[in-house]
């Protein structure tokens, strides 16, 4: 394992320190936590619903990179691939509540769901109005009443963008919850990996793939996918992922937003080639794409791969996706 780090046990605090020191105009660290909160001039004057997200580290720029005017109010970073603890989330909730309530955006992992729930209970004891929504866009996992359900992956960033813009516009907590649930229901993602991520404390990739193999349906914590296939040209990968996601929508009418997300070690060059192939394929199928985004947004340490997210959108959502924000990572 070759990584530019110091002490394995100190990775997250050092990373957060680097992030806030190089972006002091945008964010500050909440004392004694690894949570960051908006630090721009507008923030202290503003009265809007606070939006807090968070989760394990290793997905940078998610979530701290999306804190800023028009997106998240605060983000809480846990240990690598490990949910943050409720006390840290609770501090973030307190830091962003302006009396209008706080919305928690939680990715669907049992640890995240439970820790955010506990933090919510702690904040409610302080009479803060807190609601949460659970993002579960990874359609490579079967959903069923009896399981953990689908995971929350790259689509989370579209949800954060739309809700952040809507909150800035003055939407109420209840309106945001409703909007968030609708947005999540219309967001679907599949990821592929060419090489697994190496968790620093483990020291080697989470799973092994042969030189010509690619795994479909992986999660952002090295969760295994649904099949291993021979690596194929970008356009075949684009077609396979697009079709699988489209088939999961009840119909293919209306407008779509597209996110091509790099998993951490994949050059932008390849992400753009893949995005080009996705757009070609969607065009052939007469699918209207009204917003698209490419880049390392929701990564998995040094994983090699990409994910594709399609979101069915209406005009107002497109407007919110397009609105300028002041963040590190959007």
């Amino acid at each position: 394992m070759k990584k530019i780090i110091n002490d394995v046990d100190n990775i997250v605090p050092e990373m957060i320190s680097g992030l806030v020191r190089t972006n002091a105009n945008l964010v500050r660290q909440i004392p004694n936590t690894t949570a960051v909160v908006r630090n721009d001039a507008k923030f202290s004057e503003e009265k809007q619903v606070g939006i807090v997200s968070g989760g394990g580290s290793g997905h940078e720029p998610l979530h701290a990179g999306f804190v800023g005017d028009g997106m998240l109010s605060a983000a809480v970073a846990g240990q690598i691939f490990t949910s943050p603890t409720p006390d840290q989330i609770y501090e973030a909730i307190k830091a962003v509540d302006s009396g209008k309530g706080v919305l928690l955006i939680v990715k669907n992992y049992s640890g995240d769901v439970m820790n955010f729930d506990m933090a919510k209970e702690m904040a409610e004891a302080d009479d803060i109005n807190v609601k949460s929504i659970i993002v579960d866009d990874d359609i490579s996992v079967e959903n069923s009443e009896f399981t953990q359900g689908k995971r929350g992956v790259a689509g989370t960033v579209f949800i954060e963008k739309i809700l952040g813009a809507a909150a800035r516009e003055g939407k109420s907590l209840d309106e945001l919850v409703e909007l968030g649930k609708a947005a999540i229901a219309n967001t679907k993602t599949i990821g592929i990996s060419l090489r697994a991520a190496t968790v620093p404390a483990v020291g080697h990739p989470g799973f092994e793939l042969k030189d010509d193999e690619i795994e479909f349906g992986i999660g952002i914590h090295n969760e295994r996918g649904y099949s291993i296939e021979k690596i194929a040209p970008s356009k075949d990968l684009a077609q396979e992922l697009s079709d699988k996601i489209l088939a999961d929508f009840s119909d293919q009418d209306g407008k779509f937003a597209v996110l091509v997300n790099g998993m951490g070690s994949t050059p932008l060059m390849e992400q753009y080639i893949f995005a080009n192939d996705v757009l070609n394929h969607l065009q052939e199928k007469n699918i209207e794409v009204d917003f698209s985004k490419v880049g390392n947004l929701v990564t998995s340490l040094d994983m090699l791969g990409v994910s594709l997210t399609l979101m069915k959108v209406d005009d107002e959502w497109i407007k919110w996706l397009n609105e300028p924000v002041e963040t590190i990572g959007w």
């Binding site: 490990t82 603890t85 439970m114 996992v141 969760e223």
Partner: protein, 194 residues
């Protein structure tokens, strides 16, 4: 059977020791069907409990459980943090009035089920907590039984927690949270014996 502060303190001390000793066993179990950190998580919790108890000796069982709960909630994270944390927090609240051990454990078990939105047969720690709580109620919990409950998780298919992503492939492995819970109940039995 009731539990007093001395017994409860011994219980927690034994549990904490076992967690520290078996850090790598728990990590290995979690590597097979999870993300390999259950030992690290529980060991972090164990150290936090020790530190908190060293700082201030609790006055009663309720306060002891609260100290344990807060240490776990603040330091463990992941899935096991809120689960063990909720169990001890709920037991702490109940212990203000209640001293019956079986009732307390049953309340802890309910807390885990509520927090985890889960039940028996999902290949989680509940598959140790719930039968253990029932056996305590009928007065016949033994170390052998605890091991039996733990071993029963081996052939289950996980439907909650990270192991559930593996579906059928989760079969054939012990559930790591059930292993740490087995340590908890083994420690409890030893503490209650004398």
């Amino acid at each position: 059977m009731t539990i007093n502060l001395e017994q409860a303190t011994k219980w927690i001390d034994l549990f904490v020791d076992k967690l520290e000793e078996n850090r790598s066993t728990l990590n290995e179990l979690d590597t097979a069907i999870g993300d390999g950190d259950h030992g690290t998580n529980m060991d972090r919790g164990a150290k936090a409990i020790k530190e908190a108890l060293a700082k201030k000796a609790p006055a009663d069982v309720s306060e002891l459980f609260k100290t344990v709960a807060f240490a776990i909630i603040q330091k463990v994270g992941g899935a096991s943090g809120p689960l063990y944390g909720t169990a001890f927090l709920d037991m702490s609240k109940a212990a203000k009035e209640e001293t019956d051990l079986a009732k307390l454990i049953s309340i802890g078990n309910d807390g885990i089920k509520r927090r985890g939105q889960s039940d028996v047969n999902m290949k989680t720690m509940i598959d140790v907590w719930q039968p253990a709580s029932e056996a305590l109620a009928s007065g016949d919990l033994t170390a052998e039984k605890v091991t039996e409950f733990l071993n029963n998780t081996k052939d289950m298919v996980a439907t909650k927690g990270r192991a559930s992503y593996l579906e059928e492939k989760s079969k054939g492995h012990l559930d790591p949270g059930s292993q740490s819970s087995a340590y908890l109940f083994e420690s409890l039995l030893t503490a209650m014996e004398g």
